[in-house]
């Protein structure tokens, strides 16, 4: 059985932590990732850049409508994810606008965080 473990946390809290505290949590994440990887149960893990880098795509009446910022409404629920490797944000936006749920729901695009290999 495959599962997605989705992480929700307040960005503001992170920004207010001291450098030492951030380093400690970062190391904790690294240790956890290594443990999971060694267990052979990890399929993929991807930390994301903060929501200030997000773009939300909606397709309405055949027109792609991008919005600056993260997905913000609560009447829709997270239904799945695609991780794509494309040239730039334009290409990511083009693929996002083709997702069927873009026509009624919203697709949030977030860059993956650039972290050194485990």
């Amino acid at each position: 059985m495959k599962y997605a473990l989705l992480i929700y946390a307040a960005e503001r809290d992170w920004a207010q932590k001291s450098k030492e505290e951030q380093g400690r949590i970062y190391n904790e994440y690294m240790a956890y990732s290594v443990e999971l990887k060694k267990s052979g149960k990890l399929l993929s893990c991807e930390p994301l850049d903060p929501t200030s880098t997000a773009t939300t795509i909606r397709v309405r009446n055949g027109k792609t409508v991008p919005t600056d910022g993260p997905f913000a409404e609560t009447k829709e629920q997270l239904g799945g994810i695609y991780v794509v490797d494309v040239k730039d944000l334009n290409e990511a936006m083009a693929w996002a606008s083709k997702i069927p749920d873009a026509r009624t729901g919203s697709i949030e695009i977030r860059p993956l965080m650039n972290v050194p290999e485990m």
């Binding site: 919005t67 910022g69 334009n90 860059p111």
Partner: protein, 424 residues
């Protein structure tokens, strides 16, 4: 400021957009480019006041900034991977130009187009697009932007910083969009430029200096855009529209600082060469056979500008153009403008009938010009009571002192008129 400092400031302002645009391409990083340009300005202050101006200040600044960027890269505390990425970008550029470190690099006009499309990328909010465009291409300081748009400095600074961060981290490409995606991307650029222009042109209550800067920047950028996209009629239409509006700048505010309506403006104060250029550009754009909202608005402005007196205005032509414009943008304000044209081309009765739908929808209930227009129509029909009522509503919603004074004058006039009638 001394004479030299002033003239250097002028040069920095004029060169900063083009130089920055080229630096961002070479360095592949907004922030590094801006920092390096600041370094180059500091170096220029010292060198130029000693040795005089170089033959090409733009090339001098670009070359120096590139060298400063290499210095900065050595000392910058960034992830090693990012450092080598940036260093590679600089090396590739040098190889492409077959040059060693010291060869002069000049700003490339196409880079400004890249920069404007990046600043106005659809993944950035309109506020961010505007702030970033006037900051990077207009060379306005954060403080100046804050004053011009009535936003506090911290907000502007944060907006610009966030936008730059998003461009870098979300990989918004630094390129001119291809044919397939040009139309929506160009729309965003044109909207931003027109917004910058209007902010400078319409806001009469702010300092004249910044206002003039915004108008000048918007005009310069629109001119550059239409020169770099000569096959696109809409940038040309926008440039024409701006030139035609701006040609009336001197006439639209009285010596006392009051707003003067188009009808009452002293047309000898209109700048003729600018009107001629604007009108020619509209014609040239329309001949390309791909009309659009800016060309049509430009054409409307041209019809107004070409009338020797207000009474000579070809309202029939203007009504036709507004009908066309409604096909692109069906907004209540454009419907209002069409009705005003119809009120002169046909009759105020017909115009009031056209406005019934708008009135029912209530979209312009809080919009003073709507009540003002209706008041004028009633006045011309000698329906004084309704005219007075509309003037009062206009007064209620007028946000600007000049407009309020204008309405009060009219209201007094209307009262005089009805009293005079009462005596007969």
């Amino acid at each position: 400021m001394t004479q030299t400092a002033r003239s250097l400031d002028r040069i920095f302002r004029a060169e900063s957009g083009p130089v920055l645009a080229t630096l961002i391409r070479i360095l592949g990083d907004f922030q590094l480019a801006e920092d390096a340009l600041q370094d180059a300005f500091t170096a220029a202050l010292e060198t130029w006041s000693k040795d005089g101006l170089p033959a090409s200040p733009g090339a001098w600044l670009t070359t120096t900034a590139r060298r400063k960027a290499v210095d900065r890269l050595r000392h910058l505390r960034i992830v090693e991977a990012r450092r080598s990425e940036l260093a590679l970008s600089i090396r590739l550029d040098q190889e492409a130009h077959g040059s060693q470190d010291e060869l002069e690099v000049s700003p490339v006009p196409e880079d400004q187009l890249r920069l404007i499309f990046t600043c106005c990328h659809l993944a950035l909010s309109r506020g961010a697009q505007v702030a970033l465009t006037v900051r990077t291409l207009g060379g306005l300081s954060i403080a100046e932007i804050a004053r011009a748009f009535l936003v506090n400095e911290a907000t502007v600074a944060q907006r610009v910083a966030r936008a730059k961060q998003k461009i870098a981290r979300a990989h918004i490409p630094y390129e001119i969009p291809d044919r397939d995606s040009l139309a929506p991307r160009l729309d965003a650029v044109l909207s931003v430029l027109y917004l910058v222009f209007n902010e400078g042109y319409l806001a009469t209550s702010r300092g004249p200096l910044v206002r003039g800067d915004l108008v000048a920047d918007a005009l310069r950028l629109a001119r550059g855009l239409s020169a770099l996209l000569p096959d696109e009629p809409e940038p040309m239409g926008l440039l024409a529209l701006m030139l035609l509006h701006d040609s009336r700048r001197e006439a639209r505010v009285s010596d006392e600082g009051d707003l003067v309506l188009l009808d009452d403006q002293d047309r000898t104060k209109w700048k003729r060469p600018q009107i001629e250029e604007g009108a020619q550009l509209v014609e040239k754009a329309l001949r390309m056979g791909r009309p659009g909202p800016y060309q049509i608005q430009g054409a409307i402005a041209a019809v107004h500008a070409e009338a020797a007196t207000a009474a000579d205005t070809d309202w029939r032509q203007i009504a036709v153009l507004y009908n066309q414009l409604l096909r692109y943008e069906r907004t209540p304000v454009i419907e209002l403008n069409r009705a005003v044209a119809v009120s002169f081309a046909e009759s105020p009765v017909e115009a009031l009938r056209l406005l019934e739908g708008v009135e029912r929808a209530g979209a312009l209930e809080h919009y003073a010009p709507f009540h003002l227009a209706r008041a004028d129509m009633f006045r011309r029909l000698a329906r004084s009571d309704e005219a007075r009522e509309s003037y009062r509503r206009a007064l209620q919603f007028a946000s600007n002192d000049q407009v309020r004074r204008f309405i009060e004058r009219r209201l007094n006039g209307a009262d005089v008129e009805s009293r005079a009638k009462g005596l007969v």
